[in-house]
């Protein structure tokens, strides 16, 4: 190719693994960490809170009001305000993303539990399930599809939101965008967008797969109906 600017593939090959902190491979690993951790945290926090809201109804309205506010907060200023607490680290991006996740997942958990038919709940009581076993073996499995649908939204939006963190130097693949802007050059932008969308599709696909494995009766019922 001589002296001209490198092509997309050439640039990708040359920067995939340079051993430095800004090689694409490192950015990709950082990106996966910074989007995966908030999703797990969000699920761990939202599950008990959602259960509490479903159990004690009066809790739900104030909680969902608060979560609507949390969801409406723009990410960049929230990252900036977090800096004064957590410094310039991955935590500064991970914590706000986890909060957004909780905001989406609490309603999903409550809706999921609401989707459990009353006669099913009563049957479980009638055949002698204790409340805990009823929750774990009857209610949560039936709620799973709705919760997983929420989890898909959270996973995909976390993966794309991490890149905003690049503006505070903690954005995983988003770092490719700031690099491309400072030194005007298109290949990093294309590589960044493609990798982030691909990552989101993979995460979404895995969650769809999880949904199939966790709730085999949904598909069995569909097949029986057709």
């Amino acid at each position: 190719m001589g002296d001209g600017p490198p092509s997309l593939w050439e640039w990708f090959g040359r920067n995939w693994d340079t051993g430095r902190a800004d090689s694409i491979r490192t950015l990709l690993t950082d990106h996966v960490t910074m989007s995966f951790v908030p999703v797990v945290l969000a699920l761990v926090v939202a599950l008990p809170l959602g259960l509490a809201c479903a159990r004690w109804r009066w809790l739900y309205q104030p909680t969902s009001g608060l979560m609507n506010i949390v969801y409406a907060l723009p990410s960049l200023p929230v990252f900036m305000l977090m800096i004064s607490v957590t410094g310039l680290s991955q935590t500064t991006v991970i914590v706000p993303l986890a909060f957004y996740g909780v905001a989406v997942l609490i309603p999903a958990v409550v809706d999921g539990l609401d989707s459990v038919p009353d006669h099913v709940r009563q049957s479980a009581v009638a055949v002698g399930f204790t409340p805990l076993r009823r929750l774990l073996q009857v209610e949560l499995p039936i709620a799973a599809p709705v919760v997983l649908a929420g989890l898909r939204v959270v996973a995909v939006s976390s993966i794309s939101l991490v890149s905003v963190g690049a503006l505070i130097g903690q954005g995983g693949l988003g770092g490719l965008f700031t690099r491309a802007y400072q030194n005007p050059f298109m290949p990093p932008v294309i590589v960044g967008i493609v990798l982030i969308v691909a990552l989101a599709l993979v995460a979404d696909g895995l969650l769809v797969l999880a949904q199939r494995l966790l709730t085999p009766w949904v598909r069995a019922r569909k097949e029986a109906a057709s």
Binding site: P74, L81, S160, S163, V189, I196, A200
Partner: protein, 230 residues
Amino acid sequence: MSWLTAFLGWLGEFFGDGANWTGSDGIPARLLEHLEFSALALALAVLVAVPLGLAIGHTGRGGVLVVVAANLARALPTLGLLVMFVLLLGASSIWPVIIPLVLLAVPPILVNTYEGIKGVDPELRDAAYGMGLRGGQVLGRVLVPVALPLILLGCRLSAIQVVATTTVAAYTGLGGLGRYVIDGFATKDYASVVGGSVLIVLFALFVQVVFALVQRLTVSPGVSRRLTIR
């Protein structure tokens, strides 16, 4: 709690500085810019997405495409899209930045308008036809009022997205409140970063309040169940 005192100190420094309240980079001017850019992007997105969503929901054609596109759009990194358009079109006007803002604002409105119209009780639709209303009248007088809460939800979600992305767009040279945050961060002026961030958060909350009011005023009491029919 040393970070709290530092935080309050920065706030006092930012809001207490008289110079921050006047001129083209003063708070009123930046606030107005932020409002202008957000409103422009949202208005364009509504103009595109609502008619399209109504048509697709009413005719039932192309629905799957809308849902897939909306899911895919969620995966698009806003910063990447902004940088791509600015590199492609240059930064001579605001349009290279407004176009991605609109692109990101369309999907939530489109999908919610479509779902709203599609989700209207078919009996209600049949009743409207039975009363002698024509296609357009059914849409305008029955389907849209019933679907309005979802259409407004779509607009609210887009507004959240637009306000946030307008902030990020300051990185690619757009004005607005994001300037304080981006410039302050670049020059280690933390009073400006913290003050600007607080302003943006307040602005985002203000937008939510406006949407809550609009919803209250425009959604028919029968649809919002504020009026219970016995």
